[in-house]
């Protein structure tokens, strides 16, 4: 994570130029939103969490010691907020073990085949993510979407590297099984 520019803009914000914070929001908004969305599985909640995280970061920017990068610090806020929110929410038990839809269900007159395929993949991934714990969702997101190594993930989540490896292994197994089953169903469908 390149943080040289971040440091410059943090300095600008601390000198009273609030507009400099726009750069930081613009740069990290997608990853922050994606992390929140993958953990809580809801776009509206994810937007609120990401906004709250930026607000918290802005308010405590003067206490930011630069021991880690701004991104690590921000993602830590997003991760903790998202995990706490999911924990406090009444747990919805997804009794369905298999992805209930087929790829053809996503085909419609309004979107191209490619867009429909993307939509299908996205729904399938979200379904698979709901089958693992909220912490594991965070780990999977940081590892696969943000391509962070276990050391960086550890800095964000506070989970030890060895524990991250174990949890990632378990999450990978479970998600792969769900995705594979859904893929198999589509192959059979077309046959």
């Amino acid at each position: 994570m390149d943080s040289t520019d971040d440091i410059y803009y943090i300095g600008q914000v601390l000198e009273g130029r609030i507009n400099a914070f726009e750069y930081l929001v613009d740069r990290h908004k997608d990853k922050a939103f994606n992390l929140a969305f993958r953990i809580c599985g809801n776009r509206e909640e994810a937007e609120e969490i990401a906004q709250d995280a930026f607000l918290k970061a802005y308010k405590s920017l003067k206490d930011f010691k630069m021991k880690s990068s701004f991104a690590t610090w921000l993602f830590r806020i997003v991760y903790n907020t998202s995990v706490s929110l999911v924990r406090t929410r009444k747990k919805k038990v997804l009794s369905v073990e298999e992805f209930p839809a087929d790829a053809v269900d996503f085909l419609s007159m309004n979107v191209s085949d490619e867009e429909a395929a993307d939509e299908y993949r996205n729904s399938l991934v979200n379904f698979a993510l709901q089958k693992i714990s909220e912490e594991e969702r965070g780990l999977v997101t940081l590892y696969y979407y943000d391509e962070l190594d276990t050391g960086e993930i550890s800095g964000i989540t506070g989970i030890s590297r060895s524990n991250i490896k174990v949890r990632l292994f378990r999450a990978r197994q479970k998600m792969a099984e769900i995705i594979r089953k859904a893929e198999m169903k589509n192959v059979l469908h077309y046959e």
Binding site: G16, L55, E147
Partner: protein, 134 residues
């Protein structure tokens, strides 16, 4: 990694890649900054214009004072405009109407001033503490 693990990894990499991240909704940055502006004040806003620019302001004040002094205050009585102005200022007499206040009134006034000063100082300290906490 055994074969199955490698296949799982490949499969997940196909479905979960950086290109497939869920992007923040349109207008996210503007909304966030508006919220920040509403919910917080700028980190240095509470110092105000004078406090933030005190160094150049003091410097400008001293420079202007020195320039005025050089123009107006004469080195001797040489009949310049400065000398006339200086003479005029020197000759101004202030007269105040005689007010006869009881002795306790002056003590009360001093007391009010001290209390007022303490009130301002304490409110300044507590206000600073409240705003500095995130």
């Amino acid at each position: 990694m055994n074969n199955k693990e490698m296949n799982d990894e490949k499969l997940l990499r196909r479905f979960l890649s950086p290109e497939r991240i869920e992007r923040a909704p349109e207008g996210f940055t503007t909304k966030t900054l508006t919220r920040i502006r509403i919910e917080t004040r700028s980190l240095t806003e509470h110092y105000g214009f004078i406090a933030r620019n005190r160094v150049p302001l003091i410097s400008a004040g001293i420079t202007a004072g020195l320039i005025l002094a050089a123009i107006l205050i004469p080195s001797g009585d040489n009949g310049s405009i400065g000398a006339e102005v200086w003479k005029y200022i020197r000759d101004i007499e202030f007269t105040l109407p005689g007010i006869n206040l009881p002795k306790w009134a002056s003590y009360t006034m001093i007391g009010i001033f001290i209390m007022g000063f303490l009130d301002r100082a304490l409110s300044g300290i507590f206000q600073k503490r409240t705003t500095s906490k995130p």
